[in-house]
Symmetry: D2
Subunit: 260 residues, 4 copies
């Protein structure tokens, strides 16, 4: 065989007794960086600064779980209830994160980027470009992603993310665009839809300059602890092969409490 | 329909404009806790203290990537090369984390717990129980999990984890057992096998009182950033449907460097 | 790179303008053999005779679907409802086929093989070995796989499979053992449990000399058309992200009819 | 809970001691119909006639395996080599069947349907519409799916499928379109590309009036026996965690032979 299959990678160098990620010996990273810093670094090639680190950590924490109703949770529990190994149940949960569930993040990123590009190309301000986008999309009877929620009219996660964005200096053009789209939806369509958590994460991932194609993966990583907790609870507290009702469940956990 | 399918969960309460995880409003957690704290809390019901937090973070960072050769990486890249959406490529990577890849953590946890239980039951010291275990397992021609590595004779990740365990107060009976098993393997079998990173993580997850059934999931979460980076590189830098050689690749990334 | 990674396979030879499966040019097989013959041949290396062909086909047809309630169906529909590509929804369905769902086939095969081995080793007849097995398993409070069904007390699939087995000459020792286990359950435990479809398939796969490790795969292949039909119906007739009730559905299809 | 989650399905009615698929009691189907007939019927609601039955069976058999090189095979083997349960290895294989692998069938179906619609709308003949399509697609530098193959310049599967189509009466407009596209590629682009097996299956699935969205699933079902055989061989004949070379393997199976 010739060497014509040889290929290259820029991620990690592994030698005997050395694991070096983007140039950093792994043992130097351990105890020094956060998991989310590692995620940032392995995708970008450089460690985040303290502000980027805090912002990404908050994004991941914001989506750690959303109770029993998301289809990823129900799919993971359903697979778990058949006696599956944990990795199979996790995989099924992840396979549920698609266009209609989690996928709004990627679409909202593409929307915000398109609006920014239009503003630059046509030399108009962001709010005009946002309004043009909303008008065009309404006329095409297409969906505007990242706005409105079945349950939350005033999502505490969105508010917290935007407060942190301001504090940490991520309140740039994409945040502005998201707010302008919200206003335009009200003005053009007549609906008062909140920016939802997907839309907020989308704006922030744009501000942090991540590629839209990675959006789904950020949501997957964020939600994994929740998926795992549901799988574990399913296999620990419930009988195998039970019928899992998608809405008729009750929260019986710890009462509301404050962080110390 | 009767209500007989009603079920309970202790994880997250979701109400209009409220997402409350184990009693904590999600917006209170954002900006305050690490992702890894959220993982700890969603599984245990309580937030970790600072030492637990640091220890778990280091465990996750230790396994963030191991280059191009692990089967989970190759499976994820292979699926990615077919034009799969990212979640499908991630799922394939996760489905590769089994008995022979990552699975040593769970088996090593079970081993260490068995040795501790034997010591307590037979009122013998841990090193005697460890030696008995090694002798028995050798005689049964079974594998002792968590020791030896194809490539690393002195794994920097294991050393760093054990240094941190000492510093943070996690150098309890399971660490002692792992060291005693290492010594017994040398004495009984005559092989000088290092504790590998799986064995080290196993000892620490025992010290932190996690269930062995969760071991695989910790490895999956730890490795996800690496899987994602490989999938992203595959889809960004390589042609679809290329033949992915499992060993003939070269690291062409950043040179070795120090953390500032 | 040396050639030390070279490996061998006995399944299919592919050359320019030739695809040769176990020696047969693929174009010679097309139009001549059934899909199920191809399945038999690719696993065994030889084509089935007409009786083996008919028996395997009936096994596959017996499990083509079981309505909306199986967890594999619900998992596949749940993933499908999120806008997943069809292969992801199929994968989630397949990941649900485990120990408690479909897995009884493998366990029943192992049971029947164990009883046959015991009879031979101890030179006792099959019914005595079956009774010993039932007694032992009852005393260990373990499950006897392949008997009893939530819904079917007299499963028409089992009856048809056993009728065909008799007609085609597959009513050998494993069928005898399955009947003896059924009788012993009644005698020893006092329950009149039918052989279920899993138990019947298990006995027949033993008669056809397939390895128990393949049992799950036969069920997966058999059920795939059903999974696909449910996924297709979910994406065609239902709204995305609907809440999928696990029991409250109604069959609104074609009325009962006879084959012409 | 109200009944507002109630839903309907047209596929299978399950009652105590009755499993009725599209109106047919399952035991009436067993022993009478082929697996592929069941697939046809569960998707279409009606059993195929003898010609449809033969055509679909040949399509499924045509793609049963393609040796060790397809990424679905390599992904399935890679996962299998980690000690995965068979369903996880199958799932990984299926997750590899995407845009660049198997996906050409769906795209070729959409192409052929678009050409037919154009011909009807513009009242031109099929070959003119085909040439217009090829010209347009070439000018847009887009791919024409279903033509050309890395290895087969004269694919025996395509030839056999088209011979059978003629014999069984499926040589309608879509076959004609596929041949016209082949001619137009030669005329317009100057390349003599064969219709590949994906293109041939696409034309036939159009002739049989299946929805393009199902194309991928037909390929998945067709390839499942092959995936399974590779998984089984991997776990039976090879060491766990071996490095799986994507091209350096040798066929060591049965010599070429004729069907009796």
């Amino acid at each position: 065989m010739s060497n014509d299959l040889k290929w290259n990678s820029k991620i990690t160098k592994v030698e005997p007794n050395n694991v070096i990620v983007h140039g950093y010996p792994i043992q130097d990273l351990m105890g020094k960086i956060r998991y989310s810093d590692g995620l940032y670094m392995i995708l970008k090639g450089e460690l985040p600064d303290e502000k980027q680190s805090k912002m990404l950590e908050a994004i991941l924490v914001s989506s750690i779980d959303h109770g029993c109703s998301p289809p990823s949770t129900l799919a993971a529990r359903t697979v778990a209830s058949t006696g599956a190994p944990i990795n199979a149940a996790i995989a099924a949960g992840i396979l549920s994160i698609n266009k209609f569930h989690g996928g709004a993040i990627e679409n909202a990123m593409l929307t915000f980027q398109e609006i920014k590009a239009t503003a630059e190309k046509e030399n108009i301000d962001l709010s005009t470009a946002a309004k043009d986008y909303v008008t065009k999309t309404r006329n095409q009877k297409k969906t505007i992603f990242g706005f409105g929620h079945r349950m939350h009219t005033d999502d505490p996660r969105q508010k917290k993310l935007y407060d942190m964005a301001k504090e940490l200096g991520f309140d740039g053009p994409y945040i502005e665009i998201s707010l302008a789209v919200k206003d335009s939806i009200k003005e053009v369509i007549g609906k008062d839809l909140p920016i939802n958590v997907d839309g907020a994460i989308a704006a922030l991932l744009c501000e942090m300059d991540f590629a839209p194609i990675l959006a789904n993966a950020f949501f997957i990583i964020a939600r994994l602890p929740g998926l795992l907790a549901h799988i574990y609870e399913e296999q620990t507290d419930n009988k195998p092969m039970r019928k899992i009702h998608p809405t008729d469940y009750e929260y019986i956990g710890t009462d509301k409490r404050s962080l110390k």
